[in-house]
Amino acid sequence: MSTRARVIRGFEFAGLDLFVPFIRLFSGENPREQVATIVRTFGTPLVAIAVFLCAWSAIAASIETSIGAVPGPVAVWEEAKNLVAEHRQERQKEAEFYVRMEKLKEQYAAQGRPWKDRKYSGKPTYFDQIWTSLETVFAGFIIASLVAVPVGILCGLSPTFYAAVNPLIQVFKPVSPLAWLPIVMILVSGLYTSENPMFEKSFISSAVTVALCSLWPTLVNTALGVAAVDRDYLNVARVLKLSWWRTVTKIVIPSSLPLIFTGLRLSLGVGWMVLIAAEMLAQNPGLGKFVWDMFQNGSSQTLAQIMVAVATIGIIGFLLDRMMISLQRLVSYDAAAV
């Protein structure tokens, strides 16, 4: 394979198919066609985005609220820059704090006084909050997957088991995170009573709520994938007299991996959506809490800051989805070739 073909494959694998025409263009492959593709895949979305920004700008300027005018795209962009600057400042302060502590520690050592390490306790910046949200959503997602995949496999393997749990699935599936959260919070504060907690209660409540809401797509898709394993493959297992365990691990799971990953991808999407609501109520220091705090704040920047958060949530959600698509490609095989 040529380098170019390899680069193209890498891009396609990473879910960056959009950029493939650029590579082809730069390597001089049928320029006219590539330009046409680029105009179609980039030009039209760019136009649409421009139209959207203009409309937003125009409409925003004409709406007055109790806390001032609705910010347009420019104001929101400024606010985003502010948040980045704040983050830098906070990091700077933190670094300075630790430098001071180092000096103090040396002094204490010289005077023979005991020293206890102290942690910097500045307020979390916007980026800390994004990071907390990501940690929470992945914690919830992992809990959900650990439950949903095995249960889904059992459902797919045994129609009896599926019939037994199906009503529960159907009833619990549509429950909103806002309904789960209070229950989870009460349970967590009742059950999670360690002296020296490894995680914050709010973190656990949010993660468990995310798990409860996001496990269903994985469960249902796994069950579907396992139940739909090609009869030919199962006949191979029967002819070879594979044990139950080997049939499941060698044939059933690999063959249903593509659907399992479809489920995981949907689950992560749902989890990310649910997370914001869960964080708002549980006061888990992530993006949801940020939005809530800004709302409570009611300053002139409130709306712009929340809009930055909305954009951030959207972009991260998009990136998470892309990531899952790449993973999905990694595990999918050519089903046409039996």
Partner: protein, 263 residues
């Protein structure tokens, strides 16, 4: 004389909405050890049903199947099966597909011994250079070669082949006849193959069993084919008896056709 593979009074009844439907009735066949037998008949006559009952993949309504003195009970690796679609696992390489079978029948062999077995069979079917390829990267003929290697690697008592070349073009089919016979010639495993290709049946088998058209399919007639082995296609085609035998086969199938249309 009791055969090595014995099918006695074999019947298959399916339950359908309009009541029970008898697909195969009182099917009797004795196959000697080391014999290559083809089952031929019109499509839908129940020949694949018979084969999958021998494989243990399909339940038996009445009668029974005895292999080497033992009544069969469900499927097992003593019967190597080549399916119509190669039924390879698309996420495994050719090597791993065969290895899955080898692992199962040689649980006590060392990993080196097992991979030697796998490599041996894959190279005999002509895939020495494609062992690390997945089914998606192989042509239809190559996939079926892997299927054949997998079945032989089990060192089964009986080989079962369910129209293994039905999905291939005729040139590939001729190639694979030679691959199959080449492998079979080495240790002459008892083989039962289903086909609807008259020339294929004549070239490969020692006996051709003609089945009547279903429902209630049974053995209609049996044709002895005693061309010398190992066989070469040119010799078989040039044999003075070839066209007489072919005539009989086609005649039988044509009669069956007429009866089916009449009824």
């Amino acid at each position: 004389m009791a055969g090595f593979l014995e099918l006695y009074g074999l019947s298959k009844e399916y339950m359908t909405r309009s009541g029970p439907q008898v697909a195969v009735e009182d099917f009797n066949l004795d196959i000697r050890k080391g014999e290559f037998v083809c089952l031929i008949g019109h499509s839908g006559c129940g020949k694949s049903t018979v084969l999958s009952m021998v494989a243990g993949l399909n339940s038996i309504s009445s009668g029974g199947i005895v292999i080497d003195g033992k009544e069969i009970d469900g499927p097992g690796p003593d019967r190597g099966m080549v399916f119509q679609s190669p039924s390879l696992l698309p996420w495994l390489t050719a090597r791993d597909n065969v290895m899955l079978a080898v692992d199962q029948v040689y649980p006590h062999a060392s990993p080196e011994e097992r991979s030697q077995i796998v490599e041996y069979y894959l190279s005999v079917v002509g895939l020495a250079d494609s062992m690390e390829k997945r089914p998606g990267e192989l042509s239809g003929g190559m996939r079926q070669r892997v299927g054949i290697a997998r079945a032989f690697s089990l060192a089964p008592k009986v080989l079962l082949l369910d129209e293994p070349f039905g999905m291939l073009d005729s040139l590939t089919r001729l190639e694979l006849h030679d691959v199959l016979l080449g492998l079979w010639q080495r240790d002459r495993r008892t083989a039962l193959m289903v086909t609807h290709d008259v020339d294929e049946a004549l070239f490969l088998s020692d006996r051709v069993v003609m089945m009547t058209s279903g429902p209630r399919a049974r053995v209609g007639d049996i044709l002895e084919v005693d061309f010398a082995r190992p066989r070469k296609r040119a010799d078989v085609l040039g044999h003075p008896d070839y066209y007489t035998l072919r005539e009989r086969l086609i005649g039988f199938l044509a009669d069956e056709d007429r009866e089916r249309l009449a009824s």
